[in-house]
Amino acid sequence: MSTGRTRGAVALAQAAIVLSLFLLWEAASRLGWADARLLPPPSLVLPRAAALLSDLVFLGHLWITVQEVLLAAVIAVPLGVGIGLTLAESPYLGLAFKPFFHFVAAVPKSVFLPVFILLFGIGFGQKVAFGVFQALFVLVIATAAAVAAVPEELLRLARANGATRRQIWAEIHWNAMLPLILEGLRLGMIFNIAGVIFAEMYVSRAGLGQRFTSWGESFQMPELFAGVLIAAGLSIIVNETLRALERRAGAWRVA
């Protein structure tokens, strides 16, 4: 049980950690511990980040990445959950196909990027396809695991009380599976974002990743660091939002 007071103290300590990291970064750059051309100080990077966020050209690139990530999620989530449910519900399909999902999940997806370019070109569609590909496997595996984690005794209890198939899904499966599926969704989103940005960095005409590569190649380090901060911030927001949902859906899992 954390009281309001300890929560406040923790928040204060965390703010101090962030602040000292930035101070350390500033010092490293200014005191010559690191080459200031390679590691520009936050006093330079932060204003640049603010400038980027009001730069319509940059916002255009950002918007393309956001659209790619969202579309990939809209495709990958129902597809991954659907495949996971099918594998879990059919013993035969599960035994036959599940190992392959684990195998492919283990392979670094980036090695397939050249194939994706041949299949989908280098435009918007290829980024979405690669995002889907990245997110799909963890979603399938998490969903199948969620079905397997539904407690047998609760299913029996529902049946003993005359629950219909639909009621068993709505009352037992849904509640038992939701936190695990949200966890898979969160991991899937991390993979999805990484995949889309990586595909943009590899070959692209637009998007956040394309900007990173271009800034890096033209040695525009303040812009590069500012862009990285923005991408990191957005990813953290997505992750924390899903984590909060996960906690709420799984509050019963404590203890």
């Binding site: 029996r156 003993a160 005359g162 009621q167 899992r253």
Partner: protein, 271 residues
């Protein structure tokens, strides 16, 4: 078959006139394993009169829980059938038969109140109505004030109280209990046993109570059915002729000890 059953099952002339509430007819059950079929239950015949508290004991693996699951309509026997209130049981019939399981089997994402009301929710009873009923039952099992707690905030004994309240929720005439106190410590088990008898006294249901606790069986039941080791067959039906209400002092009596000893000697020769 029913004739020789009757002379074993009928303790008093009055009982014979009453129509049985539960009839188990020629149940034989076998299941498949990697090493071939295993005969779990053999030729089980039972008849249980309304309002009786009947214990089902036997060595581990004798199939007593399986038999209970067949009475609940959750498992189909290979042969034979169960009849409850004149109708064969082929699938769960929650309006006639309530079940309380060994693990409390509470929905961890629902409050105590919602757990008790769950069977009514499945039947589409409106929220206000089902929760009023559930509240009443929670009070009955001594959990007033715990309505909005989740299972992880309750002790083992409290969870089992919630499960018992849920068993009474649909007010079924028959209540099947599968080692409901097995996971509890001795003290809690004794207290809950007394509570169960108190509630049963108010609501007079036909109870079939599977247990491996012989003291518990003698203390709670009107009659104890002793099953043999695998394949489970009915070895004896022992009438527990202790007066009701039962009190803890009875446990110290010679008669209590003799009843317990008779059951134990039957089981001991098995395993």
């Amino acid at each position: 078959m029913s004739l020789h059953l009757a002379d074993r099952a009928t303790p008093s002339p009055a009982m014979a006139a009453v129509k049985p509430e539960i009839i188990v007819e020629g149940i034989t059950h076998s299941y498949q394993t990697g090493r071939g079929p295993v005969l779990a239950l053999k030729d089980i015949d039972l008849s249980i009169a309304p309002g009786r508290f009947v214990g089902l004991v036997g060595p581990s693996g004798c199939g007593k829980s399986s038999l209970l699951m067949m009475m609940a309509g959750l498992t189909r026997p290979s042969e034979g059938r169960v009849i409850v209130r004149d109708a064969p049981v082929t699938s769960p019939a929650p309006d006639r038969i309530g079940v309380v399981f060994q693990e409390s089997s509470l929905l961890p994402w629902r409050t105590a109140l919602e757990n008790v009301a769950f069977p009514l929710k499945l039947r589409g009873v409106p929220r206000a109505e089902r929760e009023a009923k559930a509240e009443q039952l929670l009070h009955l099992v001594g959990l007033k004030g715990f309505e909005n707690r989740h299972p992880h905030e309750l002790s083992g004994g409290m969870k089992q109280r919630v499960a018992i309240a849920r068993g009474f929720c649909q007010d079924p005439p028959v209540l099947l209990m599968d080692e409901p106190f097995a996971a509890l410590d001795e003290q809690t088990r004794m207290t809950l046993g007394d509570e169960l008898l108190r509630i049963w006294d108010q609501h007079r249901k036909t109870v079939v109570f599977v247990t491996h606790g012989l003291t518990e069986a003698v203390y709670l039941c009107d009659e104890v059915v002793v099953l043999s080791g695998r394949p489970g067959e009915v070895l004896a039906r022992i009438e527990i002729d202790l007066p009701r209400p039962r009190t803890w002092e009875m446990m110290a009596t010679e008669h209590f000890g003799r009843l317990r000893e008779r059951i134990w000697s039957l089981i001991r020769t098995q395993s």
